[in-house]
């Protein structure tokens, strides 16, 4: 295993609002290897999107401030780069795709103009040479009749095709890292299946590292090798995907997994849900942010924020960590068949 493609250490992002300062991301660390997909899971307000925007240098400032941390990519700390240097990396070595392809494509430009801009800015290619590469890019993402599509405007394309155009644009320069923020959330399930298959396919061929940000545990299960779970701005659990789903070590993770309605099991049985409401970052409790909703809460949970500690799980692939005082006990409970929550 070589050096990681992206190594984020101790990232903290603060927003100064009228209601006061809010830490949207607090001391988040993670690394991505070449060719792997890391899933970043969390609900609204968990900080998963802010994490990715900070790495890309896209936090609006003010009100956002990257308080501390490093993001090592290709021997450089992205958080310390000058705007011009960062622009050269962004779109070239790191690409990003967003949830809504309609709002991330310029409605006034043809598909060709949007794609060729990337080649002109980063590679200095002439229009004609760029056009051929753009057509090839569209073909690579499975768009039928790519030559004809080059002259289309975004509104003339379906949602699935627009997301393919976004992926084609992101992969045009063969980036080492692709950040995909809810790439299929706005799409219908049959189109989602196509896009996920396409991303896996492209990754296998090019060895791109993918940071997949989503709230959808089903999408993560099928695509990510490792998963990081975020809650109220912090990482609360990290593990390889199989271990995380089979033996969750944080009560939030197990609650989240239990609350997903499935296609099997007794449909009449009530779903196990997590009580209460998602946390309000302006009014976080002093201890563990999940404590007010946690079934296993103890006095010490309200005293201090539990650290993200390595938990020794012999069945896991690689190290796994959890930020919960009950993690060891939860692991022991999983070991006894039939006693898991």
């Amino acid at each position: 295993m070589g050096a990681p493609v992206l190594d984020v250490r101790d990232l903290t992002v603060r927003f100064d609002t009228r209601q006061g300062s809010v830490r949207a991301v607090e001391r988040v660390s993670f690394a991505l290897e070449q060719g792997e997909t890391l899933g970043l899971v969390g609900e609204s307000g968990s900080g998963k999107t802010v994490t990715s925007l900070a790495v890309m240098g896209l936090i609006p400032s003010p009100p956002g401030v990257v308080e501390s941390g490093q993001a090592w990519f290709g021997g450089r700390d992205l958080l310390r780069l000058a705007p011009a240097q960062l622009r050269a990396v962004r779109g070239d070595r790191i690409a990003m795709i967003f949830q809504d392809p309609m709002t991330s494509l310029n409605p006034l430009l043809t598909v060709e103009r949007q794609l060729s801009e990337v080649l002109e800015v980063h590679r200095g290619l002439a229009r004609r040479a760029a056009r051929a590469l753009c057509a090839k890019g569209l073909g690579d993402v499975g768009i039928p009749d790519p030559e004809a599509r080059l002259d289309a405007y975004p509104h003339e394309l379906s949602g699935g095709l627009r997301q393919r155009v976004m992926i084609a644009m992101a992969l045009l320069l063969d980036p080492a890292l692709l950040i995909a923020d809810e790439p299929t959330t706005a799409l219908d399930v049959t189109i989602q299946a196509q896009i996920l298959e396409l991303m896996a396919d492209l990754q296998a061929r090019r060895g791109t590292a993918i940071l997949l940000i989503t709230h959808d545990l089903g999408v993560i299960a099928g695509t990510a090798g490792r998963v990081h779970v975020m809650y109220a701005g912090r990482l609360v659990e990290t593990a390889d995907t199989s271990s995380l789903y089979a033996r969750p070590l944080h009560p939030y993770t197990s609650g989240l997994l239990a609350s997903v309605p499935g296609l099997e099991g007794d449909p009449r049985a009530p779903l196990r849900s997590i009580a209460g409401q998602p946390p309000d970052l302006c009014e976080l409790p002093p201890g563990c942010a999940f404590a007010p909703r946690c079934e296993l809460v103890r006095a010490e949970c309200r005293a201090g924020v539990p650290a993200l500690l390595e938990i020794d799980d012999p069945a896991a692939r690689g190290a796994r960590r959890a930020a919960c005082v009950e993690a060891e006990r939860l692991l022991a409970r999983h070991a006894v068949p039939g006693s898991a929550p």
């Binding site: 049959t190 989602q192 299960a221 609350s259 997903v260 309605p261 296609l263 409401q277």
Partner: protein, 337 residues
């Protein structure tokens, strides 16, 4: 046998498309809903599923009178709502209420919760102001919110709590039928489960019938005993939950089910997924014959030629349910069930 609570008979909605000039005749028709028929019993639950543009929301809007059908009938207890006078219609309309997808957009930010919940009662001239307020508090209690928060404004609640307020408002007039249009898709996963459980509980408690419109098949499965699958304005398969999820007959239903991601890495990676080619065709120019044939994974099979020419009709296929597919017209005897 008494009439079902709700029955749709060959319901159609065709929108004019591409007029020649401001007052010109429409150049064509968009068949958003093209002959939908189904029935819903008192206290029953029917899930209407399909992808964007399949006509499921337009169908719901016609039932509550937000859209006028081009043809067909909407029968509530045997009375055709589309033929009623405005006054009679309003009287019937009380019995059918709707819950919307976006809890942020469907509540007036300048009204207190008390006022939001009392509004349906005011419109129908029910109760005195004081009684309405008490009713609002009882409704908040029924949906699991604190009745003392009745003077608060929508922005003081989270997304899940706002959806509870939307549900409370729908219950204000003691309806018999609740139409839920994507009631949980804008909510976080942990909150979705709370709302799904609440809908199930309220149905039990008030004897409500549900027409649930959703793109998430797993959500439908937890709330409804019957499921109708729509594709390009038509119902392609209809039947009890167990059969639709256990032994789907229409190739589109099969593809739709196989595309739903499962939150279990081992099973998710092991299963064979049917990935459909291409996009849903434009309803402006639906394909001839079976509208699904250009994407159908089964089109290589014997009846292929017929699929291109002749639109299949939804017919009872035995084993509980109906489906519209030339390839699945086998008698019930060979069914797996």
């Amino acid at each position: 046998m008494s009439a079902p609570l709700l029955e749709l008979r060959d319901l159609r909605k065709h929108f004019p498309a591409g007029r020649a000039g401001l007052f010109g005749r429409p150049a064509g028709w968009l068949r958003a809903v093209d002959g939908v028929s189904f029935a819903l019993e008192r206290g029953g639950g029917l899930g209407l599923v399909g992808e964007s543009g399949c006509g499921k929301s337009t169908t719901a809007r016609m039932i509550v009178g937000l859209e006028r059908p081009t043809s067909g009938a909407v029968l509530l207890d045997g009375t055709d709502l589309t033929s009623l006078s405005r006054r009679d219609w309003i009287a019937q309309r009380r019995r059918v209420q709707m819950i919307f997808q976006d809890p942020y957009a469907s509540l007036d930010p300048r009204q207190t919760v008390a006022s939001i919940l009392a509004e349906p009662l005011r419109i129908h001239s029910l109760g005195k102001p004081r009684e309405r307020k008490l009713r609002a508090m009882a409704l908040l209690d029924a949906v699991g919110l604190n009745p003392r928060h009745v003077q608060r404004y929508p922005h003081e609640f989270s997304g899940g709590q706002r959806q509870r307020i939307g549900i409370a408002r729908a219950l204000a007039l003691e309806p018999e039928l609740l139409i839920c249009d994507e009631p949980v898709s804008a909510l976080d996963v942990s909150i979705q489960a709370q709302i799904i459980n609440l809908l199930a509980e309220l149905r039990e408690r008030f004897g409500l019938a549900y027409l649930l419109i959703a793109h998430d098949l797993a959500v439908v499965r937890h709330i409804c005993e019957r499921v109708a699958v729509m594709y390009l304005g038509r119902v392609v398969e209809l039947g009890p939950r167990e059969r639709i999820f256990g032994a789907p007959r229409h190739p589109y239903t099969r593809a739709l089910l196989s595309a739903v991601p499962i939150a279990d890495p081992a099973r998710e990676r092991a299963r064979a997924r049917i990935v459909l080619e291409g996009d849903v065709p434009s309803p402006h120019a639906p394909p001839p014959g079976c509208a699904f044939h250009p994407r159908c994974p089964e089109r290589g099979r014997v009846a292929g030629e017929r699929c291109r020419r002749e639109a299949p009709i939804l017919r009872a296929g035995g084993a509980g349910g109906e489906w519209a597919c030339h390839l699945e017209e086998r008698p019930a005897a060979v069914d797996r069930e």
